[in-house]
Symmetry: C2
Subunit: 186 residues, 2 copies
Amino acid sequence: MARTAAPGTRERIITAAAPLFYRYGVRAVGMAQVIEAAGCGKNLLYGHFPGKSDLVAAYLTVVRAERDRSIGAALAATDGPRAALVAVVAEIAERVREPAFRGCAMRIYLTEFPAIDDEPGRIARDYLTSTRGQIGDLVRALDGDTVLADQIWLIIEGLYASANRPDTDQSAMAAVTLARSLLAAP
Amino acid sequence: MARTAAPGTRERIITAAAPLFYRYGVRAVGMAQVIEAAGCGKNLLYGHFPGKSDLVAAYLTVVRAERDRSIGAALAATDGPRAALVAVVAEIAERVREPAFRGCAMRIYLTEFPAIDDEPGRIARDYLTSTRGQIGDLVRALDGDTVLADQIWLIIEGLYASANRPDTDQSAMAAVTLARSLLAAP
DNA sequence: GTCTATAATGGGATAGAC
DNA sequence: GTCTATCCCATTATAGAC
Protein backbone atom coordinates (compact mmCIF):
# COMPACT_ATOMS: atom_id res chain seq x y z
CA MET A 1 0.00 0.00 0.00
CA ALA A 2 1.24 3.42 -0.88
CA ARG A 3 1.31 5.81 2.00
CA THR A 4 -0.65 8.97 1.56
CA ALA A 5 1.42 12.11 1.78
CA ALA A 6 1.44 13.49 5.29
CA PRO A 7 -0.38 16.80 5.43
CA GLY A 8 1.35 19.84 6.77
CA THR A 9 4.81 18.64 5.89
CA ARG A 10 5.62 21.85 4.13
CA GLU A 11 4.57 23.88 7.14
CA ARG A 12 6.49 21.59 9.47
CA ILE A 13 9.69 22.09 7.49
CA ILE A 14 9.26 25.85 7.37
CA THR A 15 8.51 25.93 11.09
CA ALA A 16 11.72 24.06 11.76
CA ALA A 17 13.81 26.18 9.40
CA ALA A 18 12.50 29.63 10.32
CA PRO A 19 14.06 30.04 13.77
CA LEU A 20 17.38 28.74 12.49
CA PHE A 21 17.45 31.14 9.56
CA TYR A 22 16.37 33.96 11.78
CA ARG A 23 18.78 33.36 14.59
CA TYR A 24 21.95 32.37 12.80
CA GLY A 25 21.37 33.90 9.40
CA VAL A 26 20.38 32.25 6.14
CA ARG A 27 23.92 31.70 4.99
CA ALA A 28 25.09 30.14 8.21
CA VAL A 29 22.35 27.50 8.27
CA GLY A 30 22.85 24.52 6.01
CA MET A 31 20.19 22.30 4.53
CA ALA A 32 21.46 19.40 6.63
CA GLN A 33 20.75 21.44 9.73
CA VAL A 34 17.23 22.16 8.55
CA ILE A 35 16.65 18.49 7.78
CA GLU A 36 17.81 17.49 11.22
CA ALA A 37 15.61 20.09 12.89
CA ALA A 38 12.61 19.08 10.79
CA GLY A 39 13.26 15.42 11.51
CA CYS A 40 12.63 14.42 7.93
CA GLY A 41 14.59 12.90 5.12
CA LYS A 42 16.38 14.71 2.40
CA ASN A 43 14.04 13.60 -0.35
CA LEU A 44 11.02 14.92 1.44
CA LEU A 45 12.51 18.34 1.85
CA TYR A 46 13.80 18.58 -1.70
CA GLY A 47 10.43 17.33 -2.88
CA HIS A 48 8.73 20.30 -1.31
CA PHE A 49 11.51 22.82 -1.96
CA PRO A 50 13.63 22.34 -5.08
CA GLY A 51 16.45 24.41 -3.62
CA LYS A 52 17.50 26.35 -0.58
CA SER A 53 16.34 29.58 -2.18
CA ASP A 54 12.77 28.26 -2.35
CA LEU A 55 12.84 27.35 1.31
CA VAL A 56 14.14 30.78 2.21
CA ALA A 57 11.43 32.38 0.09
CA ALA A 58 8.81 30.32 1.92
CA TYR A 59 10.34 31.36 5.24
CA LEU A 60 10.13 35.05 4.35
CA THR A 61 6.60 34.59 3.05
CA VAL A 62 5.55 33.19 6.41
CA VAL A 63 7.29 36.05 8.17
CA ARG A 64 5.41 38.51 6.02
CA ALA A 65 2.08 36.84 6.78
CA GLU A 66 2.79 37.02 10.49
CA ARG A 67 3.79 40.65 10.23
CA ASP A 68 0.69 41.57 8.25
CA ARG A 69 -1.42 39.81 10.82
CA SER A 70 0.23 41.50 13.81
CA ILE A 71 0.15 44.94 12.28
CA GLY A 72 -3.43 44.38 11.16
CA ALA A 73 -4.44 43.44 14.68
CA ALA A 74 -2.71 46.50 16.10
CA LEU A 75 -4.46 48.72 13.57
CA ALA A 76 -7.85 47.11 14.14
CA ALA A 77 -7.65 48.01 17.83
CA THR A 78 -7.14 51.69 17.11
CA ASP A 79 -9.37 54.56 16.15
CA GLY A 80 -8.14 56.83 13.40
CA PRO A 81 -4.80 57.21 11.59
CA ARG A 82 -3.12 59.09 14.40
CA ALA A 83 -3.64 56.33 16.94
CA ALA A 84 -2.85 53.80 14.24
CA LEU A 85 0.61 55.25 13.62
CA VAL A 86 1.38 55.26 17.32
CA ALA A 87 0.13 51.69 17.53
CA VAL A 88 2.40 50.54 14.70
CA VAL A 89 5.46 52.01 16.38
CA ALA A 90 4.39 50.63 19.75
CA GLU A 91 3.84 47.17 18.34
CA ILE A 92 7.35 47.11 16.88
CA ALA A 93 8.78 48.54 20.08
CA GLU A 94 7.26 45.69 22.04
CA ARG A 95 8.57 43.12 19.65
CA VAL A 96 12.05 44.59 19.71
CA ARG A 97 12.22 44.04 23.45
CA GLU A 98 11.65 40.32 23.20
CA PRO A 99 14.90 38.54 24.06
CA ALA A 100 14.96 36.39 20.93
CA PHE A 101 14.34 39.34 18.68
CA ARG A 102 17.32 40.06 16.48
CA GLY A 103 15.86 42.55 14.03
CA CYS A 104 13.55 42.48 11.04
CA ALA A 105 14.01 39.23 9.12
CA MET A 106 13.55 41.00 5.79
CA ARG A 107 16.13 43.64 6.52
CA ILE A 108 18.54 41.04 7.85
CA TYR A 109 18.19 39.03 4.67
CA LEU A 110 18.87 42.07 2.51
CA THR A 111 21.94 42.86 4.55
CA GLU A 112 23.16 39.31 4.19
CA PHE A 113 22.67 39.26 0.41
CA PRO A 114 23.05 42.84 -0.78
CA ALA A 115 24.12 42.10 -4.32
CA ILE A 116 21.79 39.25 -5.20
CA ASP A 117 18.45 39.70 -6.91
CA ASP A 118 16.58 36.50 -6.16
CA GLU A 119 13.12 35.51 -5.03
CA PRO A 120 13.71 36.00 -1.30
CA GLY A 121 15.19 39.40 -2.01
CA ARG A 122 12.13 40.36 -3.99
CA ILE A 123 9.87 39.26 -1.15
CA ALA A 124 11.90 41.29 1.33
CA ARG A 125 11.93 44.41 -0.83
CA ASP A 126 8.22 44.09 -1.56
CA TYR A 127 7.56 43.92 2.14
CA LEU A 128 9.55 47.05 2.82
CA THR A 129 7.87 49.10 0.10
CA SER A 130 4.47 47.83 1.17
CA THR A 131 5.06 48.68 4.81
CA ARG A 132 6.46 52.05 3.89
CA GLY A 133 3.34 52.60 1.79
CA GLN A 134 1.10 51.85 4.75
CA ILE A 135 2.86 54.49 6.79
CA GLY A 136 2.49 56.97 3.95
CA ASP A 137 -1.21 56.19 3.61
CA LEU A 138 -1.83 56.69 7.31
CA VAL A 139 0.02 59.99 7.35
CA ARG A 140 -1.91 61.20 4.31
CA ALA A 141 -5.15 60.15 5.99
CA LEU A 142 -4.38 62.56 8.79
CA ASP A 143 -3.34 65.33 6.41
CA GLY A 144 0.27 65.13 7.50
CA ASP A 145 3.07 66.18 5.19
CA THR A 146 5.48 63.74 3.64
CA VAL A 147 8.23 64.72 6.08
CA LEU A 148 6.17 63.30 8.92
CA ALA A 149 5.94 59.97 7.13
CA ASP A 150 9.70 59.99 6.56
CA GLN A 151 10.25 60.69 10.24
CA ILE A 152 7.97 57.88 11.37
CA TRP A 153 9.69 55.55 8.95
CA LEU A 154 13.05 56.63 10.29
CA ILE A 155 11.91 55.79 13.80
CA ILE A 156 10.81 52.35 12.65
CA GLU A 157 14.12 51.72 10.92
CA GLY A 158 15.99 52.82 14.01
CA LEU A 159 13.83 50.63 16.18
CA TYR A 160 14.60 47.52 14.17
CA ALA A 161 18.27 48.38 14.08
CA SER A 162 18.32 48.75 17.87
CA ALA A 163 17.42 45.12 18.39
CA ASN A 164 20.03 43.08 20.22
CA ARG A 165 22.00 46.10 21.26
CA PRO A 166 22.91 46.78 24.88
CA ASP A 167 20.34 49.58 25.12
CA THR A 168 17.40 48.10 23.26
CA ASP A 169 14.87 48.91 25.97
CA GLN A 170 15.74 52.58 26.07
CA SER A 171 15.67 52.79 22.30
CA ALA A 172 12.23 51.22 22.25
CA MET A 173 10.94 53.69 24.80
CA ALA A 174 12.55 56.60 23.02
CA ALA A 175 10.93 55.52 19.76
CA VAL A 176 7.45 55.44 21.22
CA THR A 177 7.97 58.74 23.01
CA LEU A 178 9.28 60.34 19.85
CA ALA A 179 6.46 59.00 17.71
CA ARG A 180 3.87 60.19 20.21
CA SER A 181 5.31 63.68 20.28
CA LEU A 182 5.49 63.85 16.49
CA LEU A 183 1.87 62.72 16.32
CA ALA A 184 0.55 64.88 19.11
CA ALA A 185 -2.45 66.77 17.82
CA PRO A 186 -1.55 70.38 17.09
CA MET B 1 70.93 39.88 -3.84
CA ALA B 2 67.97 39.42 -1.66
CA ARG B 3 65.08 41.71 -2.44
CA THR B 4 64.00 44.02 0.32
CA ALA B 5 60.46 43.56 1.52
CA ALA B 6 58.08 45.92 -0.22
CA PRO B 7 56.78 48.55 2.19
CA GLY B 8 53.12 49.27 2.53
CA THR B 9 52.05 45.79 1.52
CA ARG B 10 49.76 45.46 4.48
CA GLU B 11 47.98 48.69 3.65
CA ARG B 12 47.75 47.76 0.00
CA ILE B 13 46.02 44.49 0.83
CA ILE B 14 43.60 46.16 3.21
CA THR B 15 42.85 48.85 0.65
CA ALA B 16 42.03 46.19 -1.91
CA ALA B 17 39.94 44.11 0.47
CA ALA B 18 37.94 46.85 2.14
CA PRO B 19 35.64 47.83 -0.73
CA LEU B 20 34.96 44.19 -1.49
CA PHE B 21 34.07 43.34 2.09
CA TYR B 22 31.95 46.43 2.35
CA ARG B 23 30.08 46.05 -0.89
CA TYR B 24 29.46 42.31 -1.05
CA GLY B 25 29.76 41.37 2.58
CA VAL B 26 32.57 39.63 4.42
CA ARG B 27 31.19 36.16 3.91
CA ALA B 28 30.61 36.58 0.20
CA VAL B 29 34.17 37.67 -0.51
CA GLY B 30 36.74 34.90 -0.66
CA MET B 31 40.42 35.17 0.00
CA ALA B 32 41.09 34.42 -3.66
CA GLN B 33 39.08 37.47 -4.60
CA VAL B 34 41.06 39.62 -2.22
CA ILE B 35 44.30 38.23 -3.59
CA GLU B 36 43.26 38.99 -7.12
CA ALA B 37 42.21 42.53 -6.22
CA ALA B 38 45.43 43.13 -4.32
CA GLY B 39 47.47 41.70 -7.16
CA CYS B 40 49.63 39.65 -4.88
CA GLY B 41 50.34 36.04 -4.17
CA LYS B 42 48.73 33.89 -1.56
CA ASN B 43 51.78 33.52 0.61
CA LEU B 44 52.28 37.24 0.89
CA LEU B 45 48.77 37.79 2.15
CA TYR B 46 48.94 34.94 4.64
CA GLY B 47 52.30 36.27 5.74
CA HIS B 48 50.70 39.53 6.77
CA PHE B 49 47.37 38.12 7.96
CA PRO B 50 47.37 34.64 9.49
CA GLY B 51 43.71 34.16 8.62
CA LYS B 52 40.70 35.83 7.10
CA SER B 53 39.53 36.94 10.50
CA ASP B 54 42.70 38.97 10.96
CA LEU B 55 42.20 40.66 7.62
CA VAL B 56 38.61 41.49 8.49
CA ALA B 57 39.73 42.86 11.85
CA ALA B 58 42.23 45.08 10.06
CA TYR B 59 39.52 46.22 7.68
CA LEU B 60 37.21 47.21 10.51
CA THR B 61 40.06 48.90 12.34
CA VAL B 62 40.68 51.09 9.29
CA VAL B 63 36.97 51.82 9.07
CA ARG B 64 36.97 52.90 12.67
CA ALA B 65 39.94 55.18 12.19
CA GLU B 66 38.21 56.85 9.24
CA ARG B 67 35.01 57.26 11.22
CA ASP B 68 36.80 58.72 14.20
CA ARG B 69 38.56 61.16 11.90
CA SER B 70 35.37 62.24 10.10
CA ILE B 71 33.36 62.66 13.26
CA GLY B 72 36.26 64.44 14.89
CA ALA B 73 36.45 66.88 12.01
CA ALA B 74 32.71 67.49 12.15
CA LEU B 75 32.91 68.14 15.89
CA ALA B 76 35.93 70.43 15.59
CA ALA B 77 33.99 72.69 13.24
CA THR B 78 31.19 73.20 15.73
CA ASP B 79 30.70 75.34 18.78
CA GLY B 80 29.13 73.67 21.79
CA PRO B 81 27.44 70.32 22.35
CA ARG B 82 24.15 71.32 20.78
CA ALA B 83 25.71 72.17 17.43
CA ALA B 84 27.96 69.15 17.78
CA LEU B 85 25.03 66.76 18.02
CA VAL B 86 23.41 68.29 14.96
CA ALA B 87 26.73 68.07 13.14
CA VAL B 88 27.11 64.39 13.96
CA VAL B 89 23.68 63.58 12.56
CA ALA B 90 24.28 65.81 9.53
CA GLU B 91 27.62 64.18 8.79
CA ILE B 92 26.04 60.74 8.78
CA ALA B 93 23.12 62.01 6.72
CA GLU B 94 25.53 63.24 4.06
CA ARG B 95 27.40 59.99 4.00
CA VAL B 96 24.22 57.98 3.71
CA ARG B 97 23.35 59.79 0.52
CA GLU B 98 26.53 58.73 -1.25
CA PRO B 99 25.65 56.18 -3.93
CA ALA B 100 28.19 53.59 -2.80
CA PHE B 101 27.06 53.82 0.79
CA ARG B 102 25.45 50.62 1.96
CA GLY B 103 25.24 51.20 5.68
CA CYS B 104 27.61 51.17 8.63
CA ALA B 105 30.32 48.56 8.10
CA MET B 106 30.33 47.65 11.78
CA ARG B 107 26.59 47.11 11.95
CA ILE B 108 26.66 45.14 8.71
CA TYR B 109 29.33 42.86 10.10
CA LEU B 110 27.38 42.24 13.29
CA THR B 111 24.30 41.40 11.23
CA GLU B 112 26.30 39.02 9.09
CA PHE B 113 27.81 37.21 12.07
CA PRO B 114 25.30 37.50 14.91
CA ALA B 115 26.31 34.41 16.82
CA ILE B 116 30.10 34.65 16.61
CA ASP B 117 32.29 36.33 19.20
CA ASP B 118 35.53 36.99 17.39
CA GLU B 119 37.99 39.83 17.03
CA PRO B 120 36.11 41.70 14.27
CA GLY B 121 32.94 41.43 16.30
CA ARG B 122 34.69 42.90 19.30
CA ILE B 123 35.97 45.79 17.21
CA ALA B 124 32.49 46.44 15.87
CA ARG B 125 30.85 46.30 19.29
CA ASP B 126 33.52 48.51 20.79
CA TYR B 127 32.88 51.04 18.07
CA LEU B 128 29.15 51.07 18.74
CA THR B 129 29.49 51.50 22.49
CA SER B 130 32.12 54.17 22.01
CA THR B 131 29.99 56.11 19.54
CA ARG B 132 26.96 55.75 21.75
CA GLY B 133 29.06 57.03 24.62
CA GLN B 134 30.03 60.13 22.66
CA ILE B 135 26.38 60.94 22.06
CA GLY B 136 25.65 60.45 25.74
CA ASP B 137 28.53 62.73 26.70
CA LEU B 138 27.37 65.48 24.39
CA VAL B 139 23.82 65.29 25.66
CA ARG B 140 25.03 65.42 29.25
CA ALA B 141 27.20 68.41 28.39
CA LEU B 142 24.09 70.30 27.41
CA ASP B 143 22.17 69.13 30.46
CA GLY B 144 19.80 67.03 28.40
CA ASP B 145 18.10 64.01 29.89
CA THR B 146 18.97 60.45 28.91
CA VAL B 147 15.85 60.16 26.78
CA LEU B 148 17.23 62.80 24.45
CA ALA B 149 20.39 60.77 23.98
CA ASP B 150 18.31 57.69 23.25
CA GLN B 151 16.32 59.61 20.68
CA ILE B 152 19.41 60.96 18.92
CA TRP B 153 20.87 57.47 18.90
CA LEU B 154 17.64 56.12 17.45
CA ILE B 155 17.85 58.67 14.66
CA ILE B 156 21.41 57.62 13.91
CA GLU B 157 20.45 53.95 13.83
CA GLY B 158 17.55 54.71 11.52
CA LEU B 159 19.79 56.77 9.30
CA TYR B 160 22.26 53.96 8.82
CA ALA B 161 19.46 51.49 8.23
CA SER B 162 17.98 53.74 5.56
CA ALA B 163 21.04 53.42 3.37
CA ASN B 164 20.43 51.83 0.01
CA ARG B 165 16.69 52.01 0.32
CA PRO B 166 14.52 53.64 -2.31
CA ASP B 167 13.90 56.67 -0.10
CA THR B 168 17.32 57.27 1.38
CA ASP B 169 17.38 60.97 0.57
CA GLN B 170 14.11 61.69 2.30
CA SER B 171 15.18 59.66 5.32
CA ALA B 172 18.40 61.63 5.52
CA MET B 173 16.55 64.92 5.41
CA ALA B 174 13.98 63.74 7.91
CA ALA B 175 16.75 62.70 10.28
CA VAL B 176 18.43 66.08 10.21
CA THR B 177 15.12 67.89 10.58
CA LEU B 178 14.14 65.69 13.48
CA ALA B 179 17.48 66.08 15.21
CA ARG B 180 17.36 69.85 14.80
CA SER B 181 13.89 70.07 16.29
CA LEU B 182 14.84 67.83 19.21
CA LEU B 183 17.88 70.01 19.83
CA ALA B 184 16.20 73.35 19.37
CA ALA B 185 16.97 75.46 22.40
CA PRO B 186 13.99 75.63 24.74
C1' DG C 1 65.11 36.30 0.47
C1' DT C 2 60.87 38.01 -1.34
C1' DC C 3 57.57 37.18 -3.99
C1' DT C 4 54.16 34.78 -7.56
C1' DA C 5 51.90 30.88 -9.27
C1' DT C 6 49.95 26.62 -8.68
C1' DA C 7 48.84 22.39 -6.70
C1' DA C 8 47.19 19.90 -2.70
C1' DT C 9 44.51 19.32 1.63
C1' DG C 10 40.53 19.22 4.40
C1' DG C 11 36.07 20.79 5.60
C1' DG C 12 31.44 21.82 4.52
C1' DA C 13 27.94 23.09 1.34
C1' DT C 14 24.05 22.00 -2.16
C1' DA C 15 21.96 18.70 -4.49
C1' DG C 16 20.96 14.20 -6.75
C1' DA C 17 20.82 8.98 -6.73
C1' DC C 18 19.22 4.95 -4.88
C1' DG D 1 17.70 7.66 5.18
C1' DT D 2 22.34 6.83 3.42
C1' DC D 3 25.57 7.45 0.24
C1' DT D 4 27.87 10.08 -3.18
C1' DA D 5 29.05 13.55 -6.87
C1' DT D 6 30.38 18.13 -7.33
C1' DC D 7 31.64 22.39 -6.04
C1' DC D 8 33.54 26.36 -3.15
C1' DC D 9 36.42 27.93 0.42
C1' DA D 10 40.36 28.70 3.74
C1' DT D 11 44.62 27.27 4.46
C1' DT D 12 49.12 24.97 3.62
C1' DA D 13 52.86 23.17 0.83
C1' DT D 14 55.64 23.23 -3.12
C1' DA D 15 58.11 24.98 -7.14
C1' DG D 16 60.07 28.43 -9.43
C1' DA D 17 61.01 33.66 -10.88
C1' DC D 18 63.46 37.89 -9.77
